[in-house]
């Protein structure tokens, strides 16, 4: 009773978020969950890479070694991608877009290493959607001024303003839900394969990992950053 059919098939279907421990903060019970732990691990990996990259670039040589080559490759690739979309605004947003690109990419492929991907928690992706939302509207007010923002809201006619406003609010929600649902579907499907087909899941789930973790994760990272850049560029562009 109270158990779904899927959940009663095997006790070891496990893709939910678990609490690790809880503490009291201002009368509220706050849970530290597996998502926090996985975000921390991803952050530690990125920080270690950054420290190593910093050292490698400080002692850079004209003939780059292997690691320096990798660092330059990553930075050049990100710069090219961001410059291609944002044009003259790219120097300002290079840091932010590069950071979220690397973070989302590592989070998505962390499923390969046995972690639960942090981006399969709506809290994480919604936070990134909110950041995009704030950036869009901050830059809209900065570049288009209040007059331009109001003109954009009343785009064909002033009666359209509520619909345009709903469209603005839908941007971070659809951005974050897209990333979340894609990663979650991969996580759930792999958990189901491992739990329900545990007798015959020997080597072939590797192909599923390649698709769901590597391919889908990389595509969704690209899409999230691309859409963020497009929205920000639109907000920065004035009519003149």
């Amino acid at each position: 009773m109270g158990q779904g059919i899927l959940l009663s098939a095997g006790a070891d279907i496990d893709f939910m978020i678990h609490g690790v421990f809880s503490y009291e903060l201002f009368g509220q019970t706050v849970w530290i969950t597996t998502t926090h732990v996985c975000v921390l691990i991803v952050m530690l990996v990125i920080t270690a890479f950054c420290i190593a990259a910093n050292r490698a670039v400080k002692h850079a040589s004209d003939v780059p070694g292997t690691f320096q080559n990798v660092v330059e490759l990553v930075v050049e690739m990100l710069d090219k991608m961001i410059g291609g979309v944002m044009g003259k605004f790219s120097p300002k947003f290079r840091n932010y877009i590069g950071t979220i690109f690397i973070f989302i990419l590592l989070s998505n492929i962390s499923g390969l290493f046995g972690l639960r991907p942090p981006t399969a928690d709506y809290g994480v992706t919604f936070a990134m959607g909110i950041m995009t939302f704030v950036l869009i509207h901050y830059n809209q007010f900065k570049y288009q001024k209040v007059k331009g923002v109001i003109a954009g809201l009343c785009d064909p006619w002033p009666i359209w303003a509520p619909i345009n406003m709903i469209g603005d609010i839908a941007v971070p929600i659809s951005l974050s839900l897209r990333l979340f649902a894609n990663v979650l579907s991969g996580t759930v499907m792999l958990a189901l394969v491992y739990a329900l087909l545990s007798k015959i899941a020997i080597i072939w789930p590797a192909a599923l990992h390649v698709y769901f973790d590597l391919f889908s994760g990389a595509i969704q990272t690209y899409v999230f950053c691309m859409l963020t850049m497009t929205y920000i560029t639109n907000a920065c562009t004035t009519d003149e």
Partner: protein, 85 residues
């Protein structure tokens, strides 16, 4: 509660989840059309292959969103079980 017990609600939730993922038809058709047009564009202008591919992937991922909403509804019905009393 008579015959409308938890198992009945769970069964109906499972049927609802199955109906919700029918939303995947739309994005499937749309992504196929996008991929077909992208293939035609590459055939016409093979030099623009990388640009066409990235544009196609971006458009497909955006078109996928509606299907993912259906998937989310199915997940909520199956695993969060909001209809249980």
């Amino acid at each position: 509660m008579g015959e409308f017990n938890n198992n009945f609600i769970l069964g109906c939730s499972a049927i609802g989840a199955g109906l919700a993922v029918i939303a995947g038809i739309g994005p499937g058709v749309g992504q196929g059309i996008a991929a077909g047009h992208a293939a035609a564009a590459v055939g016409r202008n093979p030099g623009a292959k990388s640009d066409v591919t990235s544009t196609m992937l971006l458009g497909q991922a955006v078109a996928e969103t509606t299907g993912l909403y259906g998937l989310l509804i199915a997940m909520l019905l199956l695993f969060v079980k909001p209809l249980l009393p």
